[in-house]
């Protein structure tokens, strides 16, 4: 049984990089606004319950803002390492 025995920290890091890249390519005006997940649609209720969708939109927006520059560096390093070592 090798299915759950091949998990390493390295595969977790790879999966994390891929997921963050996936979140980072969601463009604000071309895509997110079209499906109703834009920034301007999240200023809804001023009550105490933001709701799951608003939280998710905030999360996507903050991940994109924070990780934009570090992702450039991390992706470059990954590309160089994969080219060199396969």
């Amino acid at each position: 049984r090798r299915d759950n025995m091949a998990f390493t920290l390295y595969s977790l890091i790879q999966a994390a990089i891929l997921c963050v890249n996936a979140v980072a390519v969601l463009h604000e005006e071309r895509f997110l606004s079209k499906i109703g997940w834009g920034v301007d649609q999240s200023v809804g209720g001023f009550g105490d319950e933001p709701g799951i969708k608003v939280q998710l939109m905030n999360l996507v927006r903050s991940v994109r803002t924070v990780m934009r520059v570090p992702l450039i560096a991390v992706n470059s390093v990954c590309i160089v390492l994969l080219l060199l070592f396969g």
């Binding site: 049984r1 759950n4 025995m5 998990f7 920290l9 977790l12 319950e49 939280q55 999360l59």
Partner: protein
Amino acid sequence: MRLRNSSMDGSDGSQLFEDTSRAGSGSQTGYRNQQAGPQAAGFPGQSLLSDPMSNLAMAYGSSLASQGREMVDKNLDRFIPISKLKYYFAVDTVYVGKKLGLLVFPYMHENWEVSYQQDTPVAPRFDVNAPDLYIPAMGFITYVLVAGLALGTQNRFSPELLGVQASSALVWLIMEVLAVLLSLYLVTVNTDLTTIDLLAFSGYKYVGMIVGVVAGLLFGKPAYYLSLLWCCVAIFVFMIRTLRLKLLSEAAAEGRLVRGARNQLRMYLTMSIAAAQPIFMYWLTYHLIR
């Protein structure tokens, strides 16, 4: 043997560096010289220590070392909160015994509240309900060793498998903690559960896994399934009773039915966190028992 060599050194010390090419006795002393070589290296060193320059060098070196240590302590505290971690390891034997009993048999325990002392939670030594990191850490290490033992009884063992088991269990733990953190963020629960608390709660299932695997090794597959079932139910009840107080609102935590979408969502969240524990317990141990 060592005492004999050092007494030999006392008599041969002066001869070691003067003349070692004597025939006959030279060969014997030559053998003793090699054995006493590392000990005799202390003798020229003693003459170095009385030199004022080396005194200065030693004093400078020790002050440099203490400076470096201060700097490391200061900077390490920024990345890993050492003082907060110390709270989680402030346990004693009585606490560990009671907590282990609680993990396996949580049905008789009445009061699940964590007691506070002026806004800070009491150390685990004084309160059996407080989370700690000692049991999860020891449980993780024991799980890796027991997994190696189990694989060894099936002749599937090799030393790198220990590392593979450890890293895969660690990866599942990290993913579970991240998933719980994400779901807590999405449901906007105002709770005082820290990341380390969640790590501690996720690590408590290793106790049940070890019990199951050891029972399976000793008594065969039916014992494995029975003990795993018992430990799964126990962990499920333990997690629900512990998390209920932390995640749900005051009224709902006391058992009264409170309607409302938010409370229902929180209840679902508690149930799913608790239900994930038995799933992981089975997933991480079934390949060890054949």
